[in-house]
């Protein structure tokens, strides 16, 4: 009996306490953000849509390799010696035509692993999140600005150059052969080897001090911020 009474008392007491709390909340300010009408201010580091500043891309494929879901697809064409692709804004020499830079945002897992290894900071995550489409294929964003004609041209040039090189090599071989034949009578001689001019990758091989590292990172952050500001200004001016 006592237990029944105390239970009844407890029940009513806790119910009224609960009702008091809910009643207080009836008049507290709501936390709802009326989304299409109001928008939250997103923090600076927010990870949303991937964006590539193709002018700065050197086609090193580090981002492609870093992606755990393989949503980045890059195609490059070697430039010929007479082409000058210019430099990136970070001072890297561009040596490759980037004829394909497709990012499949349907596959992207927004991990940002691709952004960090980029030597020229050309791949970034931008504050854009309203890009849903009716077709999954529309979520593949091509970033390369090369037209098919340009790609064909680049390929043709590369082939021509390769052809020219091959011919040159053949001629050289032929000449060498002739020379060798000629020299076979005279004695022994060595042919010159053409030196391979390819550089050993874009990454700097530095043991580096921490300070240097930090400085580089700071520089990178600053560049990113500047680019962000630029983009926003552009957006505004467009509006």
């Amino acid at each position: 009996m006592v237990k029944a009474l105390s239970d009844t008392y407890l029940t009513f007491k806790t119910i009224f306490t609960g009702m008091g709390i809910t009643f207080r909340h009836l008049f507290t300010k709501s936390v709802t953000v009326q989304y299409p009408l109001q928008r939250d201010v997103l923090p600076e580091r927010v990870r949303l849509k991937l964006h590539v500043n193709i002018d700065d891309c050197i086609g090193c494929r580090l981002c492609e390799r870093a992606c755990p879901v393989e949503c980045i697809d890059i195609g490059t064409i070697k430039s010929t010696d007479d082409d000058d692709l210019g430099e990136t804004s970070t001072g890297h020499k561009k040596k490759l035509w980037v004829d394909k830079f497709d990012i499949d945002m349907a596959k992207c897992c927004y991990c940002e692993l691709c952004v960090h290894p980029c030597p020229t900071d050309c791949i970034t995550m931008v504050e854009e999140y309203e890009y849903s489409t009716y077709d999954r294929n529309d979520l593949i964003f091509p970033f390369s600005d090369m037209t098919p004609e340009q790609i064909e041209e680049a390929n043709r040039k590369l082939e021509e150059e390769a052809e020219a090189k091959r011919r040159k090599k053949e001629e050289a071989m032929l000449a060498k052969k002739k020379k060798a034949e000629a020299q076979a009578a005279g004695g022994e001689a060595e042919g010159d080897k053409p030196k391979d001019a390819a550089s050993g990758g874009s990454a700097e091989t530095s043991g580096g001090g921490d300070k240097e590292k930090a400085a580089r990172r700071a520089e990178r952050e600053a560049r990113r911020a500047a680019r962000r500001a630029e983009r926003e200004a552009k957006k505004k001016s467009e509006e």
Partner: protein, 344 residues
């Protein structure tokens, strides 16, 4: 009211039809409003806003939009269901709660039917609701629905006892079952000069009777903390699981109509029905309807408030509460009220 209608309408079936359609209009408009209110109450209790867009001002048209959507939906009947019972159940459910409104005095000028056994009629006709729910649960041929239906059967049968006994304690005071007469007995300011002559202030035991009635009516209308028949986190949707579209909408309508019905019965029995709380001020048939619905809506609001505060009981605890607490208490209360009546 009937005379008023007869003054400009041809007599006969048309008047009867118009006369009988009035509660339906009230139920429908109330349901549209109450579902919107429920969403708003839930939203604000949970620090949200609730519907805001549909219709412009605070999403007032949300329920109308939902209604239109439900009407357009495909009427799905499960392949292995008992088609006839499955299709009939929502109509019987709604018919039961609609029919009960006939004995409610909405104002001094309007009551559907002046039946002398009004309260008894309401109690009897609402029992049909549990029949329809068992029909729905059984006909769905779904195990979850069946569980929900069995729970409903047990719950409704049990909770009818305390409901009736608490109603009986009011009947002891009034001596009549006619709700119009019950209301008329509560006119005026009697107690201490300023308190209205409502039965809730009649004696302390009346207050206990009201609390018991309110708890029992929560269970009767399947509201939290007694919403076991449709408890969505346990039984998926209980007897509603297989229903969709307008048939489901009818069950929803029934639930809200039931809430209003029991709130109005509570208002009539304990809060003076269509009587103004300020004596003769703001009195009259039209104000009467206003007061009646306002009192009903306040009780409905409390039901909503409870719903968004409390967890749900378990089925054995529900029975425990009913048979071990409510029924003995209501009987003791009945005796005490009878004694109070004899002494004073």
């Amino acid at each position: 009211m009937q005379q008023f209608l007869e003054s400009f309408l041809p007599a006969g079936p048309v008047v009867v039809f118009v006369f009988s359609i009035i509660p339906l209009m009230i139920i429908l408009i109330y349901a549209l409003f109450a579902i919107w209110l429920e969403r708003k109450v839930a939203g604000h209790i949970q620090d949200r806003l609730g519907p805001m867009q549909t219709g412009g001002w605070h999403g007032w048209a949300q329920t109308i939009a939902d209604l239109l959507k439900m009407i357009q939906k495909e009427d799905i009947v499960p392949a292995k269901a008992d088609r006839f019972l499955f299709k009939m159940a929502p109509f019987i459910a709604f018919a039961a709660s609609y029919a009960a409104f006939v004995a409610i005095p909405f104002s001094s000028g309007y009551i559907g039917s002046m039946i002398d056994v009004g309260v008894f009629y309401i109690v009897a006709i609402t029992s049909l609701l549990s029949v329809s729910i068992i029909m729905a649960g059984w006909a769905s041929n779904n195990k979850w629905s069946l569980l929900g239906a069995m729970r409903t059967a047990a719950q409704t049968v049990s909770y009818e006892v305390p409901t009736v006994v608490t109603i009986l304690s009011v009947i002891i005071v009034t001596g009549t079952l006619n709700l119009m007469e019950v209301t008329e007995m509560q006119t005026g300011n009697a107690f201490l000069g300023f308190l209205p002559n409502w039965f809730i202030f009649h004696s302390p035991f009346m207050m206990i009777a009201f609390v018991l009635f309110f708890i029992a009516s929560l269970a009767e209308s399947h509201r939290v903390p007694f919403d076991l028949p449709e408890s969505e986190s346990e039984l998926v949707g209980g007897y509603q699981t297989e229903y969709s579209g307008m048939r489901w909408g009818l069950f929803m309508l029934t639930e809200y109509a039931d809430m209003l019905l029991l709130s109005l019965v509570g208002a009539t029995l304990f809060f003076g029905g269509w009587n103004s709380p300020f004596g003769s001020f703001m009195d009259g048939p039209v104000w009467g309807a206003f007061w009646m619905l306002l009192k009903g809506m306040v009780l409905v609001f409390v039901m909503m408030w409870l719903r968004w505060t409390l967890p749900r009981l378990r089925v054995d605890q529900l029975m425990n509460l009913c048979w071990k607490y409510l029924i003995p208490l209501s009987f003791v209360n009945l005796v005490l009220i009878a004694l109070w009546e004899m002494i004073f």
